[in-house]
């Protein structure tokens, strides 16, 4: 296929930028020493890891010794939630608060804790995909161990009022974790100002390598360990350090912070163009998630009477990479729990498309996507028994 590929699935993963890969390369076959070792060649690696820690800390206004490297967003979420649950339950606190549209790394962890005897409040989000600090306040109990609310949603991109929730939790003396996997590197974050206690991130979402992430843990907080063993990460997370991965993550995040302003402007232009074009050119569509309080690169639309996998297959044939909330692509029995959480009927949840743009995308590509999408939706609807009824109605 000599067709040009348009990658519009940056919320799923992103390419490693060449400048990041370049920084990583020496650490595979040349500077390969175990950072925990004595000799000089390992010392360089130790320094490289500490440099990356500082880069990441400075990106969210944390101190370097508040950053712990992990294998990705899922591990960070699991560690934060299970770790705090374990230490707090020793004090009799066995209640957790989250939302009903978190990533599965949070939701399935919560479900696991329910089996272990914790009680979990799943706050409903409104039809725009937002929760409020008031909802959190109303759910708090004396025995609440942790509030875990995602910074920005991975499907519909809505950004939660994190600073307000952080303020509330700090006032009430309750731990506050946020899954910021989609937000870090995309929008400004300040863990101090926003009073965040724990924050998860994942390198491959901001043009860093896959398989590496980090957990920010505010000084003085000590969740129980998830991975026991060697003394790495100041004894809190065992395992020989993934030096090239860590170096890549640090550099990628530094790059993301440096270019955030111009990239945001670029993404907003693309996003607003796409939303406007789809709503103008294609009948019976619905934008999912809040219209403005969302990540700059995120578009999520449902097309009545269309099924998502069919749309994706046609997009793929046209060289366009996107994703869908259809059950066919979720690997589960149901369509996206996020789209159901904002009140979409099953049919519309099955018929959603997520386009997530990155720095490498152009307005030209966005135009091409919209043109293709118009034809594709028409073809899928031509085949759909639901579109008959739709027309008849």
């Amino acid at each position: 296929m000599e067709q040009k590929i348009i990658y519009a699935d940056n919320a799923a993963t992103t390419p490693v930028s060449p400048s990041v890969l370049e920084k990583m390369l020496p650490f595979f076959s040349q500077s390969y020493g175990n950072p925990s070792s004595m000799y000089s060649i390992a010392r360089d690696n130790k320094e490289a890891v500490e440099h990356a820690r500082a880069q990441i800390a400075s990106a969210i206004n944390a101190d370097p010794n508040e950053i712990y490297f992990t294998a990705g967003g899922s591990e960070s979420d699991n560690w934060a939630i299970k770790g705090i649950a374990q230490t707090q339950s020793a004090r009799g606190k066995k209640h957790l608060i989250t939302t009903n549209f978190e990533h599965h790394a949070v939701l399935h962890t919560m479900e696991e804790l329910e089996k272990a005897g914790f009680e979990v409040t799943y706050l409903p989000v409104n039809e725009d995909g937002l929760v409020t600090a008031e909802q959190v306040a109303a759910a708090l109990r004396p025995e609440t161990a942790l509030v875990s609310i995602m910074y920005a949603n991975n499907e519909i991109g809505t950004i939660q009022p994190i600073a307000e929730i952080g303020e509330l939790c700090r006032q009430k003396g309750v731990m506050f974790h946020t899954d910021a996997v989609q937000a870090v590197g995309a929008i400004p974050i300040d863990v101090k100002a926003e009073k965040i206690d724990l924050l998860s991130m994942s390198s491959h979402k901001f043009n860093g390598p896959k398989g590496v992430g980090a957990l920010y843990i505010r000084k003085g907080i000590r969740p129980a360990r998830l991975i026991h063993g060697g003394g790495q990460e100041r004894g809190q997370r065992a395992g020989t350090e993934n030096v090239p991965g860590i170096v890549g993550m640090g550099q990628a995040l530094e790059n993301a912070i440096e270019t955030m302003e111009s990239k945001t402007a670029h993404l907003l232009e693309i996003r607003d163009y796409v939303v406007e074009a789809i709503e103008r050119e294609i009948p019976r569509v619905r934008l999912n998630g809040h219209r403005t309080q969302r990540l700059p690169g995120n578009v999520n639309v449902s097309f009545q009477a269309c099924e998502g996998e069919s749309l994706l297959l046609f997009l793929d044939m046209a060289g366009i990479c996107a994703s869908s909330g259809s059950a066919c692509t979720s690997g589960s029995l149901d369509p996206s729990h996020v789209l159901l959480a904002i009140g979409l009927p099953h049919e519309l949840a099955h018929g959603s498309i997520r386009l997530t743009f990155g720095g490498q995308n152009t307005l030209e590509e966005a135009r091409h996507i919209c043109e293709e999408l118009k034809k594709i939706v028409a073809e899928v609807r031509r085949r759909s028994p639901l579109w008959n009824e739709e027309k008849g109605a």
Binding site: E307, C328, D334, P385
Partner: protein, 147 residues
């Protein structure tokens, strides 16, 4: 989930045969439901016990489109009793395989044909169950493409 569809599946997905409504159909069946993300509607024109024309409309994934399409090809011009012999296994074979988690789409195609033929008998005041068998309207067991 990657989509390791066979070329035949992709051919039927890209160029589905017999798509659309059939205004003079005398047998119409519909299976699946929007909750599951799969709905197949099958329109037959039956003359002298022979399926002289057929159309389908499907809301569903690539496998659902392809199984509907190939099923229409496999029953067109066939006698009713031949069409009733269509098994989901035959559909899968004709498509040169389906990913395991998509196998239920072939079941849906078989059921859509049977549902349409049942409708044909019902319109004539004949109870279809002794001929066609009972149809599972619900897709609880294999709801959606997910595994």
């Amino acid at each position: 989930m990657s989509t390791p569809y066979s070329p035949t599946v992709m051919d039927h997905f890209s160029n589905p045969r017999n798509v659309g409504e059939l205004p003079d159909a005398n047998a119409v069946g519909e299976v699946g439901n929007p909750k599951c993300g799969d709905i197949m509607k099958m329109y037959l024109k039956i003359e002298d016990d022979v399926i002289s024309d057929v159309r389908f409309q499907t809301f569903g994934c690539g496998a659902a489109i392809a199984t509907s399409s190939i099923a229409t090809e496999m029953i067109r011009g066939k006698k009713i009793d031949e069409a009733l012999q269509l098994t989901n296994r035959a559909v899968v074979e004709a498509l040169e395989g389906l990913p395991p988690i998509k196998l239920h789409c072939s079941v849906l195609a078989e059921q859509a044909v049977k549902s349409a033929i049942s409708d044909y008998y019902r319109r004539q005041g004949i109870d279809p169950v002794p001929i066609v068998g009972a149809l599972d309207d619900e897709c609880d067991d294999h709801c959606s493409c997910g595994a």
